[in-house]
Amino acid sequence: MKKLLAVILAVVLALSVTTLVACQPTADINVGILQVATHTALDGARQGFKEVVQAWADEVGKTVAFHEQNANGDPNNETTLAQTLVAQNHDLLLGIATSSAQALYSNTQSIPVLYTAVTNPAVDLAGLGTIQGVSDMNPVAQQIQLVKTVVEAMHPEKETIKLAFVFNGSETNSLEQVNLAKAECARLGGFTTVDVTASSSNDIATALASNQMQAVDCIYVPTDNLMAENMNIIYAYSTPNNIPVICGESGMCDAGEGTATFGIDYYLLGQQVGEMAIEILEGKTLDNPNQFYTRQCEFFINEENALAMGMTQTQIDQIKDAFQGE
Amino acid sequence: MLKIENLTKIFNVGETTEKTALNNVSLTLEEGDFLTIIGGNGAGKSTLLNCISGVLSVDNGTISLDGEDVTHLAEYKRAKYVSRVFQNPLDGTAGGMNIEENLALAFRRGKKRGLGWGITKEERVLFHKLLSETGLGLESLMAQKVSTLSGGQRQSLALIMAVLVQPKILLLDEHTAALDPKTAKTVLELTQKFTKDSKFITIMVTHNMNDAIKIGNKLVMMNQGNVVFQASGQEKQNLKVVDLISKFSEVGAELNDRILLNS
């Protein structure tokens, strides 16, 4: 008797659950989004993407539902979530960051997949068939020029600038940016560089405390996922030591204590890939499936911090003029 | 032949708890000898057995078996020559495996274990035959897990396993102490049956002075790591329990309740 009741209860529960799920209102358009982890840049891209697609949907009078998943940095989660999104058979999928894009592309050939926030898609998404999206390769050369300008303003007497690259040695996109940065340093001349690497948040403080960091004039942090989540550790070192920090993108500077950046606006990046999505949802093929970020790069300087580091207001204004014009 | 010369074992060297468990103990035993060892707590009886079997390392002295020096031979290698029955019935058998598997393990003691089958059909037949000869009824439980057996049954099994492949030395460390009197008697009878006319050396530690006198042909009393009294042959058979008790007080050994009540 008891067993029978238990079985009946279980069946009723299962049925009600399935009906509940099935009864969710279906939208005209379903878009799946997979993001590797949470930080300002990736969130900004997602925001920009959603707003552009939503605006278009409202215009043409359709409903759109976004199915968002975040892997929280766990590669096993990422696989499961990618499989889930593919199984849900959406109209379009967006992968934000390299590993998410890889996970989506390797699980479906039939659903259109867009990538964004992938620094070097030609290399990192090679072999996955046809890829389309917007890369977030940032203007590294100009960022190094910004380094030179800021340090010269602070220490006009110096002949060589010692520049420390702080990044996660295991992220290929960071390595690529650092190599580009070194090329620009060589071209401009007057730089000595050191690589300060860490592969997990526990190692960052130790790396910063090493001998290499002695007499460093400036820190450059590329758009590195690990560092982006841990900028506070870097600032805990740089601020007391009066070292300016030039970041790969403004989200990392926004944390309050970065000095300056000239970089990609990830919100606009999201909008750019959103526009590609609209074309695909309208059934068109893209003329330019693999784009680089084409919008205006954003200049940002933290004036309070710059003044505290010893720059004068005139110098700050000069830098602003030089970079804001571009 | 077992020859133990100047065996010394000290625990916790250099600390406040330092204790000399064996102090220059020497002993010689011939094939077929059955030695009983008695003594108070901390006399060094179990330590002696553990040194002979290789569980404990020795600090000084030698142990040689048939002329071969085995003092520093690893325990598992020494098991080829030395088999043991522990005081705790749970220690001598693998509870999660069944009787025939335990016997199969014992059957391979001292041999290299390769990738042949863990137990063969012929072995099953042999084990069945051996078990029925002991009259304990274990042959009908061969496929049963050892953990379901009683303490007495497990200890009997451990004893059978110890003599399945003839050793050179059989060590019995108070192997009936954890059993009820009736079962203890059964196991002791089984012990005598297996060791009668045997070619191996048996050493039995016991707290029961009656058994110590009646069983075996040699007796040794230990106290504080030393051999304080020895007897063999007729002299041993003629001993009375009161003699032994007075010997205990002579050497200043402590008589505990177990010894007195068990005798």
């Binding site: 399935t18 799920v21 892997a71 929280n72 766990d74 590669p75 096993n76 989660n77 696989t79 499989q83 889930t84 199984a87 849900q88 058979n89 590993s99 890889q102 996970a103 592309y105 390797s106 699980n107 050939q109 039939s110 990192d124 090679a126 072999g127 996955l128 068939g129 996660n168 040695g169 295991s170 290929t172 592969s199 | 569980v55 325990e75 598992y76 098991a79 080829k80 043991r84 522990f86 220690d91 001598g92 058998t93 693998a94 509870g95 999660g96 495996m97 598997e101 199969a104 393990l105 014992a106 391979r108 003691r109 274990r113 390769g114 990738l115 042949g116 089958w117 863990g118 137990i119 396993m161």
Partner: protein, 310 residues
Amino acid sequence: MAQFLNASVGGISLGLIWGVLAVGVYLTYRILDFADLTVDSSLATGGVVTAVLIANGCTPILALLASCLAGSCAGLITALLNTKLKIPAILAGILTMSALYSINLKILGNRANVSFFGKPTINGYWADLFNLSLIDDKNVLSIITCVIVCSAVVGFLYWFFGTEFGCSVRATGFNSTMAKAQGINTDLTKIVCLMISNGLAGLAGGLLAQHNQSGDVNMGTGTIVIGLASVILAETVIRDRFSFWLKLALVVLGSVAYRLIFTFAVQMGMHTNDLKLVATAIIVIALTVPLIKKKIAHKKLKGGLNNVKN
């Protein structure tokens, strides 16, 4: 509804891959009675070895064998730390696991991951044979691969633990005092068992890497929890009288069940942040099942006795 089925296929394929690992955990945790934490890293080692080899042109099967070998080397290290240097089991496992993280990064060439999209994987054989799509039917292909691998693994272990040496390994786990007294070299049995178990972890890592077509240094995080959960789930149905191969097969199914519960949870809209909580809840429930059974049996007995009294 179709969604669930689709997602379940994915869950089953991953569950079978992790099933290989679960069997390895069963060997150390249950049979050898050794709490081995090395698997978190030995699985990743297997994965990155496969990734690097295939990216450089190696055949998929050879890469899998290499992963298995790499995993067993990891097991060897832990075993040596424990048997020769007398380091306690759990600590030995943790030490090897930590050291392997750096080694895994080195294997990857100081990067966090290596992908090999477009290169041949073991699934490719069935894709050609059955005319299936490598990507769209990836889960079905992985299921075929894993059913074959799991059967081979269970078959091998069933044979191995029936041999003399295999029995001595089991004896070591049940009662190492007795094993030594029976002339068994317990150091050797521990070493061999740990090598096999971590070899299986490496194999699972290789299969996972081929499924994802990439090897990541963090792919092994939480492996021991997954393995233990699968074993515990399986043990709610395993009975002593079951034959060994059946027990192993149930462990694999336990892993599949565990993965399906996750898939179900995510399909139901559960947030990924809560997945770890779900995992713990599953394990706790599975562990209390025997307790509840006892209570029910006891109540039945009491009820029966009361009836007799009356």
